[in-house]
């Protein structure tokens, strides 16, 4: 027997939900949604669960990840209950629930905690720089090592357990018994969705947004590869240098457009920005821009006299890798594609 929890929407509002209690259950949101189908009819079901406070139903559901936020439901909602933003808030809430450390929830709910985390990490980087007497080569050496370690540690200790937790909640706990073969059969789904966000193309007026996002993901992943494994900042290869310039430029140009849209609020998706959204786009923008500038300083022989440029880049990188990637909006990248993967597995088990 489910227990109604009217306080749940108050909790959800801390993650950004507008007013799910305004809903009068007409189902317009589900009907206008191009991604909703007979097997997965959302978002009204999620609105209903939220209003009733059935958090265990939400926790085990993958529906919030199936939404790619075109905003059509919010635009046409007769009660202005903003179901699109509710789905976004549920994704934030789910990220907090998947995260075993509990830090995601803290950072989502408290702007002060987020800012403190950013400041502390910046302080640590500067302190480390001072400790090394701002010796450029040493700092760059450790900076490069940091990238590799950060990736493996964050992935092994935070993201991997969280994804297993997500699987536990959304597949195992729901009692769906999928054969092992399903996990192999569905792997294609995981890869396709991780790198292309194919599902977002199903949204109505979404082609350009999808394209921007697509080249951003490609730019980001290849820049990651270029800096970490091809050692962009130390390489002599002309090809790799130019490649890095292009990739970082793609990142800051596209994210600049994302920031612009969030400021202008011209589309439903960019109307409601939580601090986590701002951190994500701004830091991604800074990542692209500072990486671009550092390499430019190297190529113009300015970096030796301007160690601060690299310190800034490293600060942005550390904040990104230690806050946004493990606990922030970056996790969408993983959870969305794993949601499609688990969803396929559940389909195969039926």
């Amino acid at each position: 027997m489910a227990r109604v929890n009217p306080e749940f929407t108050d909790e959800l509002k801390k993650y950004g939900a507008f007013d799910p209690n305004a809903c009068y259950n007409c189902g317009n949101c589900t009907a206008v949604c191009t991604l909703s189908d007979e097997e997965n009819s959302f978002p009204r079901k999620m609105v209903r669960y939220s209003v009733l406070g059935l958090d265990s139903e939400i926790k085990t559901s993958l529906d919030p990840w199936l939404c790619y936020y075109c905003g059509e439901c919010s635009k046409t909602c007769p009660r202005e209950a903003d179901p699109g933003e509710l789905m976004m808030s549920l994704r934030r809430w789910l990220i907090a629930k998947y995260d075993w450390t509990g830090l995601s929830g803290l950072l989502y709910k408290s702007l002060a905690a987020s800012i403190t985390a950013f400041v502390v990490l910046a302080g640590l980087v500067v302190w480390f720089g001072a400790y090394e007497h701002f010796h450029l080569e040493t700092i760059m050496h450790y900076g490069h090592l940091f990238e590799m370690f950060a990736i493996s540690i964050v992935f092994t200790f935070i993201l991997l357990p969280n994804i297993i937790h997500m699987w536990w909640l959304s597949v195992y706990k729901t009692g769906k018994k999928a054969p092992i073969s399903a996990y192999f059969k569905a792997i294609g789904e995981l890869i396709v969705h991780m790198f292309t966000q194919k599902r977002a193309l199903g949204c109505d007026d979404n082609q350009f947004r999808w394209f921007e996002h697509f080249i951003l993901v490609l730019g980001y992943l290849s820049l990651l590869f270029t800096t970490v494994f091809l050692d962009w900042f130390s390489t002599q290869s002309m090809f790799i240098i130019v490649l890095g310039y292009i990739e970082s430029a793609v990142i800051f140009v596209v994210t600049f457009d994302f920031v612009r849209r969030r400021i202008q609020k011209d589309q439903e998706i960019s109307k409601h920005s939580q601090p986590s959204d701002w951190f994500f786009v701004i830091w991604l923008f800074l990542m692209g821009l500072t990486a671009f500038l550092v390499r430019l300083f190297i190529d113009t022989n300015l970096l030796d006299a301007n160690v601060w440029m690299y310190i800034v880049q490293l600060t942005v990188l550390v904040q990104w890798a230690m806050i946004i990637v493990p606990f922030g909006k970056w996790t969408h990248f993983l959870y969305r594609s794993f949601a499609m993967y688990f969803h396929r597995i559940i389909e195969l088990s039926e």
Binding site: N25, C26, G27, A31, V32, D37, S41, K75, T76, P78
Partner: protein, 437 residues
């Protein structure tokens, strides 16, 4: 000043703005106890929206059979004067029981007294345009009689579309067509004013995802009302796209009502019931047809309403809980409705060959701007505010100005007539106060 001198002055006890069923009821009551009443009606005929309806709920009486006797009584009443095609430009309260209104009489280009309504001008006129009194289902001429049971049933010239060929003039036996008519302004002195300006229908173009005007077989409930009326254009129920007799009709309730996204958050109070009524009438005229009503909540709150709803269910009308999200058209003109079946919690699609959008009731705005030196207050939804809604429902923010019918908010026909009655009673009481001083 100069203009005022030129204006002809008319003296009445009461000025009634709007000649629909509520304004007409008020005027009749007042005239019957001896007050001189002027009805100023913007349209070319009195009778308002009701005279164009098919039948009324929940009794299924013929709407025209109730309206036309009243309309004739109004037209022939010795104490009532009717101006059609006229509107008040300015109403000034000079003091208690002293109102002055500037009324504009638009030219009809027809001598109303002389016209016999023979319709020869209609035959002669070469210009065809869309007929607004049939809500765009068919056409009419530029020289035309508004509709067959109009009052006055005389011709008018649609000067916007007229090509001034003179064919009607030559065809007219009593020579009543007069292109020299001009706008006429009157200074009307009255002791009280009744505002019965009615309502407007929601324009479904504001919901593009329903495809009104884009898909031929998506019509409004008012268009269906015309298809079902005794004076209907096709003499049967047809879908406009190809003239096929529909056999699977869907109703989309709450089109433009209870919908903040289109700026109208309130319930229109009539759509549930008129849709149920039309469904029952359709089952009579198209016995083989399936009727489905997509609803949010059925509001059958009036006397006999719930029984009427149950009767429709018993007749086989299908009721599905769920707001239609969007409509798409197939090549054969049929329509696919996408909705969430709320009881099952599953998004579904259903095919129908005709869709009726049950459009809501909106305020007919602008009357407050006519009042010159005092403010006629509106409610948050732009209907006329009833300053004492429980004790004196016809009272407005101006003493001596009363409100009747849907000008104060959405309501059905019995309530409009009641409201018209209340307005006439309160007007009488206001006028008697002067007499007793």
């Amino acid at each position: 000043m100069n203009m005022q001198e030129q204006m002809k002055t008319l003296d009445y006890d009461v000025l009634v703005v709007g000649g629909g069923i509520a304004g007409g009821e008020s005027a009749l009551n007042l005239a019957n106890i001896g007050y001189k009443v002027l009805i100023v009606e913007k349209e070319l005929s009195i009778g308002g929206k009701m005279i164009l309806l098919s039948k009324v709920f929940p009794t299924l009486d013929c709407a025209a059979c109730i309206t036309t006797p009243k309309v004739s009584e109004i037209a022939r009443h010795p104490n009532i004067t009717v101006f059609t095609g006229a509107e008040p430009l300015k109403i000034t309260k000079k003091g208690e029981h002293r109102f002055e209104a500037v009324v504009l009489q638009n030219p009809r280009y027809v001598d109303v007294e002389a016209c016999t309504g023979c319709q020869l001008c209609e035959e002669a006129c070469p210009v065809s345009v869309t007929d607004e009194f049939q809500f765009g289902l068919i056409g009419r001429k530029a020289a035309f009689i508004p509709f067959s049971i109009a009052s006055p049933r005389v011709a008018a010239i649609d000067i916007e579309n007229c090509i001034l060929c003179g064919a009607c003039e030559r065809a007219c036996p009593p020579d009543c067509i007069d292109f020299t008519q001009t706008e006429q302004k009157y200074l009307v002195k009255a002791k009280a004013v009744v505002t019965a300006t009615g309502f407007k229908l929601f324009d479904p173009l504001k919901i593009p995802r329903y495809g009104y005007d884009k898909f031929d077989n998506v019509i409004t409930s008012m268009q269906m009302e015309r298809e079902l009326a005794p004076t209907r254009p096709f003499n049967t129920v047809l879908r406009p796209g190809d003239g096929k007799m529909p056999d699977n009709i869907a109703y989309v309730l709450c089109t433009g009502s209870r919908d903040k996204s289109v700026g109208n958050p309130i319930c229109s109070q009539v759509c549930c019931m008129y849709s149920i009524k039309q469904a029952q009438l359709l089952m009579g005229s198209l016995p083989m047809a399936d009727i489905t009503i997509y609803y949010l909540h059925i509001r059958a709150f009036g006397k006999g309403f719930n029984e009427f709803y149950a009767q429709a269910q018993d007749m086989g009308v299908e009721f599905i809980k769920g707001k239609v999200g969007k409509i798409t058209e197939k090549d054969n003109g049929n329509l696919i409705l996408r909705y969430e079946d709320i009881e099952a919690g599953i998004v579904k699609e259903a095919e129908h060959d005709m869709v009726v959008l049950s459009v809501g009731v909106l305020p007919n705005r602008g009357i407050d701007e006519v009042f010159d030196n005092e403010t006629l207050k509106l409610d948050p939804f732009h209907f006329i505010n009833q300053s004492d809604i429980l004790a004196s429902p016809a009272k407005t923010s101006i003493d001596g100005v009363f409100v009747a019918g849907t000008a104060s908010g959405p309501m059905d026909i019995p309530d409009s007539i009641l409201s018209g009655g209340a307005a006439s009673a309160e007007t009488t009481s206001y006028l008697r106060r002067e007499e007793s001083i």
